[in-house]
Subunit: 158 residues, 2 copies
C-alpha cells in the first residue's frame, strides 16, 4: 500500500474535544483505518474470502462492478468467493484521502492498479480501479468497512 | 425518483441535541438531500451539465466508471460534457438508504435504472447502476455532493 498523500480531519469531529486530544485520537483512527486497508489489499491478492469479509461490518455493503450490491456477511462471502474463483488479482492500493467525518465515521478514497489473471484461461491484463470506502468504528472500537464502491478507470472494452 | 425505503440517523448526530430537535432537523436534512438527488436525476435526464455540477461542492469528486476520478468544478464540467455528448440517459433513481453520520455529513446509496441511447448511433439499451454518494452540508446550510462513485450492475459485455 502506498503512502498516504492527503488526510483531512473534518471540523465536526473536533468541536467537542480539545485540539490535542482530537489530534492524537485522529492519528490513532487514521493508523487503524490504514491498517484495515492493508488487510483488505492483502486479502484481495491472496484470494482470501475470510480475510476480505473480516474487515467488513456484519451489515456491510460491497458494490462490485457488474453485480448488484451485496449486503451482509453471507452475501459478501458469496460475492468474494465468485470473484476469487474467476480472477486472481495482484494490485496495489494508493490512498488518495482519508476524511474523518465524525468520531465513528470516515471515508477513504483510493486508486488501485496492478494485474488481473483470468483463472479459466490464464490470460493476464492490466487492472486499474478507483475506490470509495465508508468506514465505521464499532462499539468495540474497531474500524471496519460499512460501505464500499469501486469502478474501473480503464476505458471500455471495444 | 422512487420513495425512500430506509433512512437511519446515526447516533453520533443525536448525542449533542435533544431528541425532538434532532428528529426535526433530521427530517429537514433528509428532505434537502432527497431534493438534491431529484435535481441530479433531472440534470442527468436533461443532459444538463450546469445543473449536474450545481449539486456538487466546489472540490467535489465524481468517480465515473471507465474514467479516472474527476476532482473539482472544472474537471466535473468537462466530465459531464463528455458524458452528455456521448449518451442520452433516461433513468430513475431509487433511494436504498440515507444515513446521516454527523450534523454535516451523510451518505446515500441508490440504484438507478432505465435506458441509455448512444448519440452517435442512436442505439438504445438498458442502463442499471448502483451509486454511493457522500453528502456534506456547507457553511451556507446547503447539502451538496462531496464524493460520488457508481458502477453498472449489468453483467460484463461479452
Amino acid at each position: 500500500m502506498k503512502k498516504l498523500i492527503k488526510s483531512v480531519l473534518a471540523a465536526a469531529s473536533v468541536t467537542a474535544l480539545t485540539a490535542g486530544v482530537a489530534s492524537a485520537q485522529h492519528e490513532t483512527d487514521r493508523a487503524q483505518i490504514e491498517g484495515v486497508l492493508g488487510v483488505y489489499e492483502k486479502a484481495l491478492n491472496a484470494s482470501d474470502t475470510a480475510a476480505a469479509i473480516s474487515v467488513y461490518e456484519a451489515d456491510g455493503v460491497f458494490m462490485p462492478q457488474n453485480s448488484p450490491s451485496q449486503v451482509g456477511t453471507d452475501a459478501l462471502r458469496g460475492a468474494y468467493d465468485r470473484v476469487f474463483k474467476a480472477i486472481t488479482l495482484n494490485v496495489d492500493f494508493e490512498i488518495v484521502e482519508i476524511v474523518q467525518m465524525a468520531p465513528t465515521w470516515a471515508f477513504v478514497r483510493t486508486n488501485s492498479a496492478g494485474t488481473v489473471t483470468v483463472n479459466a484461461t490464464g490470460d493476464k491484463g492490466p487492472e486499474a480501479n478507483q475506490e470509495l470506502f465508508i468506514f465505521h468504528k464499532g462499539d468495540d472500537g474497531a474500524w471496519k468497512i460499512a460501505r464500499y464502491a469501486f469502478s474501473t478507470t480503464n476505458p471500455p472494452r471495444q
